[in-house]
């Protein structure tokens, strides 16, 4: 026998987890892999992923994104202007900037560009997840400690 089950019809599928989708941008493949893993394991949907802001694919999924996780490159400072320009044209994108190291001037650049939260390496998975929670549009709707996730309607054959 095979264990294959037919995929449920598209109309019965839930579109994603409770958290609004995010775009993940960063040039370093290894760092992006780690951040992607953290986001996925903690039910944070990723609408699009790219090495730089200019390479984020256009499309319906990207348009649904409400959050941006931006990993600033370790060299150069052109990114802050690019980020500012992106956020000016997409003001609804709540942004977390991850800096390669802590430097007050770089933090200020990120804040001026429109970042709602800034984390500098090294940071822990907990630091990252809490920062993500703080910028999430869903966070303001939450009160106090968590409740169990509400099950979604299960698709039927």
């Amino acid at each position: 026998m095979t264990t294959r089950s037919p995929a449920p019809p598209a109309s019965d599928r839930s579109s994603g987890a409770d958290a609004p989708p995010a775009i993940l941008v960063g040039a370093n493949d290894d760092h992006r892999r780690l951040i992607r893993g953290l986001m996925m394991m903690h039910h944070q949907p990723i609408a699009a992923e790219a090495p730089s802001l200019g390479e984020v694919p256009a499309g319906t999924e990207t348009e649904k994104a409400r959050m941006l996780v931006f990993m600033a490159p370790s060299e150069g400072d052109a990114w802050s202007e690019e980020l500012r320009s992106t956020l000016a044209s997409h003001p609804g994108l709540r942004t977390l900037v991850l800096l390669p190291m802590d430097a007050p001037a770089t933090r200020s650049s990120a804040a001026r560009a429109g970042a709602r939260a800034v984390l500098s390496r090294p940071f822990t998975s907990r630091d990252f997840l809490e920062a993500l929670d703080r910028i999430s549009p869903a966070a303001s709707a939450k009160e106090g400690p968590p409740r169990a996730a509400a099950p979604r309607r299960a698709p039927r054959e």
Partner: protein, 463 residues
């Protein structure tokens, strides 16, 4: 009120003490659908503080729940309401690597992938690579005796832990294990801590064994035709690849399609896949092994043509994202982790198909085929009566086939009622005695692993 004692933590821990909503929300969840409401999240900075924290918790009778990456799947790291979460994610330093002894010493918060990156320049790797390896921690791996695809050849976490520093719930500090390559001095107490889900002590330092990186690693995808007896296939592949086969994994068509929709495809659309990893001394030897495996997969027929997957680590990352892909599409569901002897895998898969059909619940399947270890995902509200039936029938089917209710995820809260069924009442009594000595006040991760006194022994339908 427990909240009134929190200010007294200031004199116990120099590290961060948080009780803001974002911290509590983040620490209250793991990768399952479960959640708890902790009182605070505390980040001790050294072993002395862990010991002081345990003393404080004993005085105030408050539960402590150790936490690493929070990637457990059965509620192992979900805090009980009113508990204090001990955040070890900041203990993320690879303290020492000894290439000669093939050992590394790490803090419990080191991420599995980070350890791999740290030891790779020495020509070494750490074999257990769970699906969540880009975010799970070595401390969490120890707590659940985690495995991964390469455990087919290398075994689970337990086989790779050489030393542990731990502060028990009774406040005693122990260094378990040995720096010697082997010893024969009574039972190995270190093994009691591995898989204990933070219920006996808090691990503060881990010495892990490392393996030499093979000269050539090759990922291979084999398309699986409909009607394939997967257990038989695994046995054939195991025989054909005895020389260098390090993983035999499986992803069914529906799960593979979910990965495609996530943008993380394994191979061309429309197929179920067996994923293999071959280790060899040179590319020619890897080619020969791949041919032998392809021939064995379909004896008497034209050999299946395996599709090379350039980067084996990336292949395992995508395979590990199968659960994430289903999270995205199905949300909370019954997500199991059973294993049987490899020769009985087909019997288990038949039983799972029957359960799916009887209960009218779609089944998605992936797992570690070479070890008879599979992760059936049933698309049903996990709190529903149907879910309870599906879960019970699945677990009992595994036990009836001489298998286990948890191959690698652990017990947490969800599978506590089945521990006594698997281990027997005498073994559970022994476990309780160990727990009582190590944690006399029951402050460490209460409500996990050990069956509640009346929970076991319920009647149940046959699988």
């Amino acid at each position: 009120m427990p909240g009134r004692v929190l200010p007294s933590l200031d004199g116990v821990v120099r590290g961060r003490i948080a009780s803001d909503p974002a911290s509590l929300r983040t620490a209250g969840r793991d990768a399952s659908h479960l959640a708890g409401a902790p009182l605070a999240v505390v980040s001790p900075v050294d072993e002395d503080e862990v010991r002081a924290l345990i003393g404080w918790a004993r005085r105030h009778r408050l539960p402590l729940v150790a936490r690493g990456g929070g990637t457990s799947l059965d509620g192992e790291s979900v805090p009980s309401d009113g508990s204090v979460v001990v955040d070890l994610s900041g203990w993320d330093r690879v303290e020492a690597i000894d290439p000669g002894e093939r050992v590394a010493y790490v803090g419990p918060g080191v991420v599995n992938w980070g350890l791999q990156r740290a030891v790779a320049p020495h020509g070494l790797f750490y074999p257990p690579n769970p699906g969540s390896w880009t975010s799970c921690t070595i401390g969490g791996n120890v707590a659940t005796n985690a495995s991964g695809p390469r455990s087919y050849r290398y075994g689970p976490t337990r086989a790779w832990v050489r030393e542990l520093d731990v502060v028990l719930g009774n406040g005693r500090r122990l260094r378990l294990g040995t720096r010697a390559a082997k010893r024969s001095v009574g039972p190995e107490l270190l093994s009691l801590i591995v898989g204990s889900e933070g219920t006996l002590g808090i691990v503060t330092r881990i010495g892990v064994r490392l393996a030499p990186t093979p000269p050539v690693r090759r990922g291979l995808l084999l398309p699986v035709p409909d009607g394939t007896r997967l257990g038989e296939l695994a046995v054939r592949l195991g025989r054909a690849g005895a020389e260098g086969l390090s993983a035999i994994e499986y992803v069914d068509r529906a799960s593979a399609e979910a990965l495609e929709r996530l943008g993380r495809p394994l191979g061309p659309a429309g197929s179920a896949w067996v994923l293999l990893e071959v280790e060899a001394r040179d590319p020619a030897a890897a080619d020969r092994q791949a041919e032998a495996l392809a021939s064995s997969a379909a004896p008497g027929s034209p050999p299946l043509r395996p599709i090379p997957f350039e980067n084996a680590d990336e292949m395992w990352t995508r395979r590990g994202e199968s659960g994430v892909a289903l999270d995205r599409e199905l949300g909370p569901r019954v997500r199991e982790d059973v294993a049987v002897p490899v020769g009985r895998t087909d019997d288990l898969l038949d039983a799972l198909a029957r359960i799916s059909a009887d209960e009218h619940v779609p089944l998605y399947l992936y797992g570690h085929l070479g070890e008879g270890s599979v992760h059936p995902n049933f698309a049903v509200d996990p709190e529903s009566p149907a879910a309870a039936r599906v879960r019970e029938r699945t677990l009992l089917a595994a036990l009836a086939l001489d298998g286990t209710v948890s191959a690698e995820h652990g017990i947490g809260t969800i599978k506590r009622p089945y521990v006594e069924r698997e281990l027997g009442s005498d073994a559970v009594e022994w476990l309780r005695a160990v727990k009582a000595w190590c944690d006399p006040d029951g402050i460490l991760n209460p409500g996990k692993l050990y069956p509640a006194p009346q929970a076991a022994g319920r009647s149940s339908p046959s699988p």
